[in-house]
C-alpha cells in the first residue's frame, strides 16, 4: 500500500482503527466486542440464576438484614456499641478493629524493618549477624503459628487478674490484657490543646525558616532548643493558668476484672506483635535491597563532602533507595492488612470475625456478607496502593527536580 503524498490518509479513522483493534484492525475490534458481550452475558446469567434459586429455596437475600439488631457483644469497640445496635454498627466496629491492627502493625513493621535492615548493612559484625538471624528465623515460620505462639505461649502465661503484675499501682498486666489509667478531660483541656497546637504550628514555621536560610544563605540555624521549649512551655503555662487538662481514672480490681481505666486486650497485642515482627522481616530485606541498589559512589561522595554517615544515609542514600523500596513495600503493607484476617484464630474481633463470622452465621446471608467483606478488603488495599503511589510520585518528582 503506497501513501500518496498529496492526499494524506484518513488520519482519524486510521487512529481509531489502531486504538480499537490493534494490529488486527476492524476484525480484531469485532472480536473484542463479541468477547465483552459474552462476558457480560455470563455475568448476567450467574447473577440472575443465583437470584432465582435463592428465591425458589426461600433463602432471604438482599441487604435489608443490615438494619436488624445484632444482639451480641464485641470485646473491643472503638466506637460506642452495644448488643441492641444494628448490624451496620457491628460492621463499623469490625472494620475499625481491622484498620487499627493494620495501621499500628504497618507502623511498627516499617520501624522494625528499617532498623533490622540498617543492622544487616552495618559494618559491625555482631549487629549484621543479629539482623540476618532475625530475618531468617522470622520469615521462615508461618505467620499463623507466630500469632498462636504470641497468644497461647507468651501472653497466656501471664498471671490472672488477681495476681497481676502492677506498676506504680496504676498499670496492671495480666492475662486479661494491659490495664492503664484512663485520661478523663477536665475544663483545662481546650486551652491546653490550643497551646499545644500553637506550639506545633510555630515549630513548623521555624523549621521552614531554618531550611530556607540553609538553602538560600547557607546559614545553619539550630532550632530544636526553641522548639522543645515551646512544645513543653506553652502547654505548661496553659495548664498552670487554666488548671490540669486531664485527670487519670485509676483502675481497681473489682469482682473478676478491673473496673475503670483503659484496656489493651491480649488478642490485639498478640496479633499486632506477630504481624509487625513477621512483616518487618520482609521489609528489612526490601530496605536492604533498596539501599544496596544505590551506587557506592553516592555514599563516598557524601562522606567526602564532610557529612556524617547518618546524614549521608538520611539525605542522599535513603531518598534514592526509596524509588526501589516503595513498590515492594506497598505489597508488604497490603499483605499485613490481609493477614490481619487471621485474627479469627485467636478471637480478636476484626471484620472477618464479627461480620463474616458471627453476623454471617446469624443471618445466613453468605453471598451478601462475603461480597461486602471482599469489597472492603479490596477498597482498603486500593486506598493503600493509591497513597503509596502518590508518595512514590512525589519522591521521583523531587529527585527529578
Amino acid at each position: 500500500m503506497s501513501i500518496e503524498s498529496r492526499s494524506p490518509p484518513p488520519q482519524f479513522a486510521f487512529r481509531l482503527k489502531r486504538a480499537l483493534g490493534g494490529r488486527a484492525g476492524w476484525g480484531g475490534f469485532a472480536l473484542q466486542v463479541v468477547f465483552v458481550v459474552v462476558l457480560i452475558w455470563i455475568g448476567y446469567e450467574i447473577v440472575a440464576n443465583a437470584r432465582l434459586n435463592l428465591e425458589t429455596q426461600h433463602i432471604t437475600s438482599g441487604f435489608g438484614f443490615l438494619k436488624n439488631t445484632a444482639g451480641f457483644d464485641v470485646s473491643q469497640n472503638l466506637i460506642p456499641y452495644s448488643g441492641s445496635d444494628p448490624y451496620t454498627q457491628v460492621f463499623l466496629v469490625g472494620l475499625l478493629n481491622t484498620l487499627l491492627v493494620s495501621v499500628i502493625g504497618i507502623f511498627f513493621a516499617t520501624l522494625i524493618g528499617f532498623v533490622v535492615a540498617l543492622c544487616r548493612l552495618s559494618p559491625n559484625w555482631l549487629l549484621s549477624r543479629i539482623g540476618g538471624a532475625y530475618v531468617e528465623a522470622v520469615r521462615n515460620i508461618p505467620v499463623l503459628f507466630q500469632i498462636l505462639f504470641w497468644y497461647l505461649a507468651v501472653l497466656a502465661a501471664l498471671p490472672g487478674p488477681r495476681q497481676s503484675i502492677s506498676l506504680f499501682g496504676s498499670f496492671f498486666l495480666s492475662n486479661r490484657g494491659l490495664i492503664i489509667p484512663k485520661p478523663v478531660g477536665e475544663p483545662g483541656l481546650p486551652p491546653f490543646a490550643l497551646a499545644l497546637l500553637i506550639a506545633i504550628v510555630a515549630w513548623l514555621i521555624l523549621h521552614r525558616y531554618a531550611r530556607r536560610q540553609l538553602f538560600e544563605k547557607g546559614r545553619s540555624i539550630t532550632i530544636w532548643p526553641y522548639a522543645l521549649g515551646m512544645l513543653i512551655g506553652l502547654p505548661l503555662v496553659a495548664s498552670l493558668v487554666f488548671g490540669a487538662p486531664v485527670i487519670f481514672e485509676i483502675p481497681a480490681l473489682k469482682g473478676f476484672n478491673f473496673a475503670g481505666g483503659s484496656r489493651v486486650i491480649p488478642e490485639f497485642v498478640a496479633l499486632t506483635v506477630a504481624l509487625s515482627t513477621y512483616t518487618a522481616a520482609f521489609i528489612a530485606e526490601i530496605v536492604r535491597a533498596g539501599i544496596m541498589s544505590v551506587h557506592r559512589g553516592q555514599m563516598e561522595a557524601g562522606l567526602s563532602l564532610g557529612l556524617s554517615r547518618g546524614s549521608v544515609l538520611r539525605l542522599i542514600v535513603v531518598p534514592q533507595a526509596m524509588r526501589v523500596i516503595l513498590p515492594p513495600l506497598t505489597n508488604q503493607y497490603l499483605n499485613l492488612t490481609k493477614n490481619s484476617s487471621l485474627a479469627v484464630a485467636i478471637g480478636y474481633p476484626d471484620l472477618v470475625s464479627v461480620f463474616a463470622g458471627t453476623t454471617l452465621s446469624q443471618t445466613g446471608q453468605a453471598i451478601e456478607i462475603i461480597a461486602i467483606t471482599m469489597g472492603v478488603y479490596l477498597a482498603i488495599s486500593l486506598i493503600t496502593s493509591a497513597v503509596m503511589s502518590f508518595y512514590g510520585w512525589r519522591i521521583s518528582r523531587s529527585l527529578g527536580a
Binding site: E45, I46, V47, N49, A50, L52, N53, L54, T56, Q57, H58, I59, T60, G71, F72, D73, V74, S75, G83, S84, L152, A156, G160, N175, R176, K254, G255, F256, N257, A259, P266, E267, S341, L342, V344, A345, I346, G347, P349, V352, S353, V354, A356, G357, T358, L360, S361, Q362, T363, G364, Q365, A366, I367, I370
Partner: protein, 338 residues
Amino acid sequence: MKRVSLVFSLALAASLSAQTAHAQALKTVKDRGMLSCGVSQGLPGFSTPDDKGNWTGIDVDICRAIAAAIFDDASKIKFVPLSAKDRFTALQSGEIDVLSRNTTWTLSRDTSLGANFTGVTYYDGQGFLVKKSLKVNSALELNSASVCVQTGTTTEQNLADYFKGNNMKYEVIAFVGADETVKAYESGRCDVFTSDVSQLYAERLKLSNPGDHVVLPEVISKEPLGPMVRHGDDQWFDIVKWVLFAMVDAEEMGVTQKNVDEMSKSDKPDLKRAFGTDGNLGEQLGLTKDWFYRVIKAVGNYGESFDRNVGAGSKLQIARGLNQLWNKGGIQYAPPIR
C-alpha cells in the same frame, strides 16, 4: 477457617448459579451411593470421631439411621465436619444432604436460611461452666466476668440478653472452634465458658482436671437441637423427619436393637404397620417396606442411642430429663406410624 467459609460461600454462589431444577435429594443420595452428613468437628456424645475415624454420637446416629433406611447399610455415609459458622452455608450449597450438628431450632433459622428443621433430637439449654476455685454458686454472681464463647451460635445472643436483662457487665471473647474456646477458658483468659449444658459436660471431659470445674445451676435458654434439610424437597424432609420419629416410637413400643428380629414377627397391629408386614407405609415415604426394621437394627431406638452416647452408658452421664419419653415425664413425643 476463613478460607473454609470462603470456599463454602463460593460453592454456594456456584451451585446457586448452576442448578435450576429442584434437586431430588433421595435420588441424588441413591445415585451417589452415599449419604453426605454434616456433623460437628468433635463434640463428645453428639458427633465425634475416634482414633480410627469412626464417628459416634447421637447426631451421628441420626445420619446412620437415615443411611440404614435408604441403603440398609449404616456405613454408607460421608461425614463432613463443620464449624458452627460454616454449617448453614454447607447445607445451602448442597455440600451435605442433611445437617445433624447440635443446631438450635429458632424461627429465623427455620425461615431465612432456606432450610427446615425436621425434629428435635435433644432438648438442651444454655449454661455456664466455671472453675470451682472461684467459689461462684450462681450465674447471677458473674458480674464483670470474662466469658469465652464459640462464635456463630445462638449462645452469643442468649449471653448478651441474659447479662443485659440482669444488669450485669461482662467481656465476651468469641472463638471459631470449640477447642480454641475451651483452651482459652482453661488458660485463664476467661472466667466462664458458656454453651449448651450438654456441651459443657462434654467439653469438661477434655479439661486436664474435670473435677476442678462446675456447671452452674442456671439454664438461661431453650435450645432444642435437631437435624436440618434444604427447603423445597418435601420427600426428603419427610424421610429425615420420620427416621427420628421411628426411633422415638420404637422406644415407646418397646422395640430395641436386640429384640427387633423377634418383634418384627409380632402380631400386634401397630408393630405390623411399623415393620411393613401390614400396609406399605415405608413405600409412601419413598423407602422400602422394612425401613423401620433397618433403622432399629442399625442404631437401636432413641433411648438406646441416648444412653449409649450421652446418658448412663456413656462418659457424659447426662440424665434423660426433658429428653425422657412423654409418658415417662419427659417431652420426647413422636406422631404415630400409621
